[in-house]
């Protein structure tokens, strides 16, 4: 029972972590409060759904691997969308957080309406590949669903790739430089606007991957993103907005709390409990639980 509960927490954590990593990049690093982040997650979920429909119609023999393609497509769809969103809207609002919130909230509403109108007003589900349907029987009464194991694996793989991108590539270095000091980045020859655009696109792409994973846990509706956006912000703030490692640990913590509280209390009591806990922690550590200290 204990192990199973902890593992359920782990798969909630995976989605939260992917969402939060994207948001940590967009909000924590760039300072953009992107209220449409949840709808981007839904976009990733719909991209995965779309892939499954296409595969069913045209390559039924490849149905077992459609999900892999779906994840990649979800990432591309959301990051390309994010790129154009940044170029056409966000870039003009960088020093105006309230305007950014309103504008992205509007974008979120428009996206929801588009999903309703052009995809399906009611929840859609994706088929689960046969190899993901099974369970891993650990002992007589402990078994883990394969799909959840897969989600956790995907989350760790993505986090590792993001880490390698940010800390081992030239582009990643530029992202870190610009987020630490925009003005100075320009003054040493970095084209900040270009860096902004692909940083934002990366954050959005991560929301897309989160959405893709989400399809394995539940069905996707136009307003699916709404349920996750608040938790995602909590995770990012709790972890300390400048620390991606903090974001991951914070997602783990909150994902676990969520399932444990829900196990013992009702759903809304559980969320209230988490909020109280987070507020208490932020009272003592205003920069987040895992913020690091460096002389500026």
């Amino acid at each position: 029972m204990f192990a199973l509960q902890a593992f359920t927490g782990l798969s909630v954590f995976s989605i939260l972590m992917l969402m939060a990593l994207g948001l940590a990049i967009v909000f924590g690093l760039m300072g953009v409060i992107n209220m449409a982040h949840g709808e981007l997650m839904a976009m990733g979920a719909y991209a995965t759904y779309g892939t499954s429909v296409l595969f069913e119609a045209y390559f039924p023999s490849l149905m077992s691997i459609y999900f892999i393609v779906g994840v990649v497509l979800a990432f591309f769809a959301t990051s390309v969308f994010g790129y154009f969103l940044e170029r056409s809207l966000i870039q003009f609002l960088y020093k105006r957080p309230l305007d950014t919130m309103l504008a992205t909230w509007g974008v979120g509403l428009i996206l929801q309406q588009l999903y309703r109108q052009f995809i399906n007003p009611r929840p859609v589900e994706v088929p689960t590949a046969s190899w993901l349907q099974g369970v891993w029987q650990v002992s007589e009464d402990v078994s883990f669903p394969m799909s959840r194991i897969f989600i956790v694996g995907l989350a760790f793989l993505t986090a590792t790739l993001v880490y390698l991108f940010l800390y081992r590539t030239r582009r990643g270095l530029l992202i870190r430089a610009v987020t630490q000091n925009r003005g100075m980045s320009g003054a040493i020859g970095i084209n900040q606007k270009r860096v902004d655009a692909y940083t934002f696109a990366l954050g959005c792409g991560l929301a897309g991957i989160a959405g893709s994973s989400f399809t394995m846990l539940a069905s996707t509706a136009p307003d699916t993103g709404q349920a996750y956006i608040v938790d995602t912000f909590i995770v990012v703030v709790f972890g300390g907005v400048e620390s991606l490692l903090g974001t991951i640990m914070s997602a783990f913590f909150i994902g676990q709390m969520q399932t444990w509280f829900e196990f013992y209390l009702s759903g809304s009591m559980a969320r209230a409990g988490i909020l109280l806990l987070v507020i208490a922690v932020l009272y003592f550590r205003p920069n987040g639980l895992f913020a690091t200290k460096v002389r500026r």
Binding site: M184, A187, I188
Partner: protein, 232 residues
């Protein structure tokens, strides 16, 4: 011959306050000028306008014949300007090495040029330390190295001696003279410490309330007069 840097009738405002007033000057290749003045006279404002961190109200900035008055900062770096800000502004969470690599966007290679560690051996020792954890003097050396790896024709230095102990100030002056001879850049430095500028500048401009009020060459400089301007 075109000047390395030419400033014509430059005016910079913060909102309504007119901080840089009708500034004109020319800098020849490999020349080195010091802009001196007390706190709040507008030195930083002028230099920020040169690198494009502040917009100008009127006037023009020409770098090696190319008008860059409204270019973005990174375009000015590509055009040949290097900038070391007051307070150094090292990227605190990047390592020393990463601070330098980040500034090498426009160079084709990823190898840090040898002059960096030759002239500032301490930076090699500290390669993997976070920039935010260096001392002020070490940060200053890093900031100079970071500005020079893009191979500028004009280096702009804002109060490099601020908060740095005298022995390190002398070292920095020596390093700058050495680098200048090796890399052939021209230099604009804002300062309040005359001892430092006497070692590196060919020409002195005194700034008072946003205007140049006095100019002199090193050969016939009247140090008492400059001291008087700096201490009133």
């Amino acid at each position: 011959m075109t000047a390395a840097l030419k400033i014509d009738n430059l005016n910079v405002f913060y909102g309504d306050s007119h901080v840089v007033r009708d500034i004109n000057f020319e800098l020849q290749d490999r020349e080195s000028i010091a802009i001196m003045g007390r706190n709040g006279m507008g030195k930083t404002t002028l230099l920020k306008a040169l690198i494009g961190l502040l917009p100008v109200r009127s006037g023009s900035v020409t770098l090696g014949g190319q008008v860059i008055t409204s270019a973005e900062s990174h375009e000015r770096v590509i055009a040949g300007m290097g900038y070391v800000p007051q307070g150094r502004e090292i990227f605190p969470y990047l390592t020393v090495r990463e601070n330098i690599l980040a500034a090498m966007q426009i160079s084709k290679t990823r190898t840090i040029p040898p002059f960096v560690y030759d002239v500032f051996p301490v930076l090699e020792e500290m390669q993997t330390r976070r920039g935010g954890n260096l001392s002020g003097g070490q940060q200053q050396q890093l900031a100079i190295a970071r500005a020079l790896v893009s191979n500028p024709k004009v280096l702009v230095l804002d109060e490099p001696t601020e908060g740095i102990q005298p022995s390190i100030i002398r070292e920095i002056a020596k390093a700058l003279n050495h680098l200048k001879a090796e890399l052939n850049f021209a230099l604009v430095v804002s300062e309040q410490v005359l001892g430092f500028t006497m070692e590196i500048a060919d020409r002195f401009l005194i700034m008072e309330k946003g205007e140049f009020v006095y100019e002199d060459n090193r050969e016939d400089v009247d140090t008492d007069k400059i001291h008087a301007y700096l201490t009133i």
